[in-house]
Amino acid sequence: MTYRDAINAALAEELERDERVFLLGEDVGLFGGAMAVTKGLYERFGERRVQDMPISESAIVGGTLGAVLTGLRPVAEIMFIDFVGVCMDQIVNQIAKVRYMLGGQVEVPLVIRTQGGGGKSYAAQHSQSLEAWFMHTPGLKVVIPSTPADAKGLLKSAIRDNNPVLFIEHKLLYNEKGEVPEGEHLVPLGQARVVREGSGLTIATYSRMVGLVQQAAEGLAAEGTEVEIVDLRTLTPLDEETMFASVRKTGRFLAVEEGHLTAGVGAELVARVTKNCFDYLDGPPERVAAQDRPIPCAPALEKATLPQVEDILTAARALVG
C-alpha cells in the first residue's frame, strides 16, 4: 500500500468509527485533495463529513478550534506546510495554548494534516520543512511519519489523541509503498522506531530522510560501519531515550533532517544527546540538514541545498574516521 493510500485508509476508518470526526480543507472533497490523499472520501462520506473550504487558512484552522470547543474532532488539511504563515496565529497562539490558558478546562482533539519537503523543484515557497517552528511551540504534538504503516498508525492515533496534532506528510513519500497492517493499526505517539541496528554510529532522523539514511547505511556497511538508524516518528513528544540508548552503544551521533540547519530539529537532538551521553561520545555529534538559504528552483541548485545521500555519507565517515 502507498503512503498516500495508508493515510486515506486511516481517514476513512476514523470517519467510519467516530461520527464527531470530519475533514475540512481546500479541494479535499470533490477533487480528492491537491495531493489526492482524500480521494473517494467525499463520495463515500458526503459533503457534511468532507468539507471543501475557501482559501481562508485562518478560518479553516481557527474553525477547527471552534469545532473542538463545541464537541467535534476535526481533521483539517493545509495543502503545503509553506502556507502555515497565513494561519500561524491560529496554530500557535490559539490551538496550541488554549488548554493551558484555560487551566485545563478543555481538551483539544484536532489534527492539522499538511505536507512538506522538497526535491521536486517547487522552489522557495513550496518545498520547506518547517517542523522546527512547531517543535518550539509547547502544547502542540508534531508527528512526521516516514513509512506507509507509520503514516496510517500514527494518523489514527493522532485523531484519537485529545491534544492538537500537526501531522506532517512528505510530498515525495506519497507514492512510496510498504506493508501496512490491516484494520486497527495504531502507532502510539512518542515512540521512535529503530529502523536498523548497528554499533558504529547512531543516526536519528525522520520523514523522507529515513530513506536516504538507509541508503547511506548500506554504503557504510560495505565500508565496515554498522549504522543504527532511529526514526523519531514524532518530534513532540520526543522519544529521547531510544536515541540515548543507541548513542550509549555507538558513541557517535548524527542528526539528519531536511529543514534548514540553523535552529533546526538537529540542533535540539544534538544538544540533548550531548548533555545526556557526553561521557559516551567519541567525538562531537554532527548534523546534516538543508543549507541556510531559501530553496532554489533549479534542480541542480536544489540538490546543492537539500541533504543528499552523499552528504550523509561524508558526515558519517568523518564521525567514524
Binding site: 470530519f22 475540512l24 457534511r48 468539507q51 473550504m53 475557501p54 481562508s56 485562518s58 478560518a59 479553516i60 484552522v61 481557527g62 474553525g63 477547527t64 478550534l65 471552534g66 469545532a67 473542538v68 470547543l69 463545541t70 464537541g71 467535534l72 476535526p74 496565529d89 491560529q90 497562539n93 490559539q94 488554549v98 488548554r99 493551558y100 490558558m101 484555560l102 487551566g103 485545563g104 478546562q105 478543555v106 481538551e107 483539544v108 509547547p138 502544547g139 504534538k141 485529545n162 491534544n163
Partner: protein, 326 residues
C-alpha cells in the same frame, strides 16, 4: 436602527437589562479599583465600562447552550453569558480559584461549559473560532447560535473577512457584533477604515447590516433578537454595529491624548445605565427604590467577587506544569 413597531419588552426583561448593565458596571469598576490597588497582576485590564448596553442587549437573550466568543475587552460579555463573577474576578487576580487557575488572566477568561468559548489577546483571532462553532452547530444540526464580539479595530484584520465570508457562504448561525467605540487603542476608525462605519462592510457580503445605538439597550436587544432568529432559522449571519464608547483608556497607562474631555463628557451624558434607569422609572416599570436596590445588588456581587478573589490562594508553582497536554 431597531424597528420601532416591535411590541414593548416585558417589564421583567427591562429590569433584567438594567440589572445586567449594572452588574457589568459594578464588576468593571471593581476591577479598576483592584488594579489601582495593585491587587491585579499583569496587563492593565481592558475595561468595558460605558459599553454595558451591548453586553446586556446581546448576551441576556442567549440560551445557555448558545456560544459566545469575545475579545480582550470581554468581561461584560462573559459575565452576562453566564460566567460566575467570583471565579472571573479570581482569574483576573491570577488566583487558583479562577476559571483558568491563574494561567489565563484578564485576556483569556473563558468557560466553554457555559458557552463562553474565549476572550483573546490577539485582535480578530476569535472570529475564526466563532465560525468554527458555527460549522459545528450546522454539523450537529442543532438550532444553537454563536455570537462573535469584536471591535472596530478588529474589523481591519484579515480574519474578519475570512470569517464573515465563510459564515455567509455556508449560512452559518453566527451573529457578528461589532462594538464600535471609535478607537482602536488610540486610532480613530475614520483614519483606518475604508468606510465611515463598520456595518458598511455587510454590503460586501450581502448580509443584513444593522446599526444600533450602543448606549440604548433596547435597540441592541431588538436587533439581536432579529439576528438570532435569522441565524437559528438557517438564514445565516447578521452584522450588528453598536456605536458605543469606553469610558476608561484602552488600558491604565493610556491617558487618552487622542480624544477630548468634551467628547468624553458628551458620551457620559448618554450613559446607558443612567438613561435606562430613568426611562424605566418614567415608564413605571421600576421605582427609584427598586433601581437603587438593583444597583446595590450589583455592587454587592462585585464586592463579593473581590472578597473571594482577594482571599483566594495563589496557584501552586509546583503544579505549573499541569494542563499543557491532556
Amino acid at each position: 436602527m431597531p424597528d420601532m413597531t416591535v411590541p414593548p419588552l416585558p417589564p421583567e426583561t427591562m429590569r433584567a437589562l438594567l440589572q445586567g448593565m449594572m452588574r457589568v458596571r459594578a464588576f468593571e469598576e471593581a476591577v479598576h479599583d483592584l488594579y489601582q490597588r495593585k491587587l491585579l497582576p499583569g496587563m492593565s485590564p481592558h475595561l468595558s465600562a460605558g459599553q454595558e448596553a451591548v453586553a446586556a442587549g446581546v448576551c441576556l437573550q442567549l440560551r445557555p447552550d448558545d456560544y459566545m466568543v469575545t475579545t480582550h475587552r470581554g468581561h461584560g460579555h462573559s459575565l452576562l453569558k453566564g460566567m460566575d463573577a467570583q471565579r472571573m474576578m479570581a482569574e483576573l487576580c491570577s488566583k487558583e480559584t479562577g476559571y483558568c487557575h491563574g494561567r489565563g488572566g484578564t485576556m483569556h477568561i473563558a468557560s466553554p461549559e457555559v458557552g463562553c468559548l474565549g476572550a483573546n489577546g490577539i485582535v480578530g483571532a476569535g472570529l475564526p473560532i466563532a465560525v468554527g462553532a458555527g460549522l459545528s452547530i450546522q454539523y450537529r444540526g442543532t438550532d444553537q447560535v454563536c455570537v462573535a464580539f469584536f471591535g472596530d479595530g478588529a474589523s481591519n484584520q484579515g480574519t474578519f473577512h475570512e470569517s464573515v465570508n465563510l459564515a455567509t457562504a455556508r449560512k452559518l448561525p453566527v451573529v457578528f457584533v461589532c462594538e464600535n467605540n471609535i478607537y482602536a487603542l488610540s486610532t480613530n476608525f475614520a483614519r483606518t477604515g475604508a468606510t465611515p462605519n463598520v456595518v458598511d462592510r455587510a454590503r460586501g457580503y450581502d448580509i443584513p447590516g444593522v446599526t444600533v445605538d450602543g448606549m440604548a439597550v433596547e435597540g441592541v436587544y431588538a436587533a439581536t433578537t432579529t439576528a438570532l432568529e435569522r441565524a437559528r432559522s438557517g438564514q445565516g449571519p447578521t452584522l450588528i454595529e453598536a456605536k458605543t464608547y469606553r469610558y476608561y483608556g484602552h488600558g491604565a497607562s493610556d491617558h487618552r491624548p487622542y480624544r477630548t474631555k468634551e467628547e468624553e463628557a458628551q458620551w457620559r451624558c448618554s450613559d446607558a445605565i443612567q438613561c435606562y434607569g430613568d426611562l424605566l422609572i418614567e415608564r413605571g416599570v421600576a421605582t427609584a427604590a427598586e433601581r437603587d436596590d438593583l444597583s446595590a445588588r450589583a455592587a454587592a456581587e462585585a464586592q463579593a467577587a473581590v472578597d473571594f478573589a482577594v482571599s483566594s490562594p495563589d496557584p501552586d508553582p509546583a503544579r505549573v506544569g499541569d494542563y499543557v497536554f491532556a
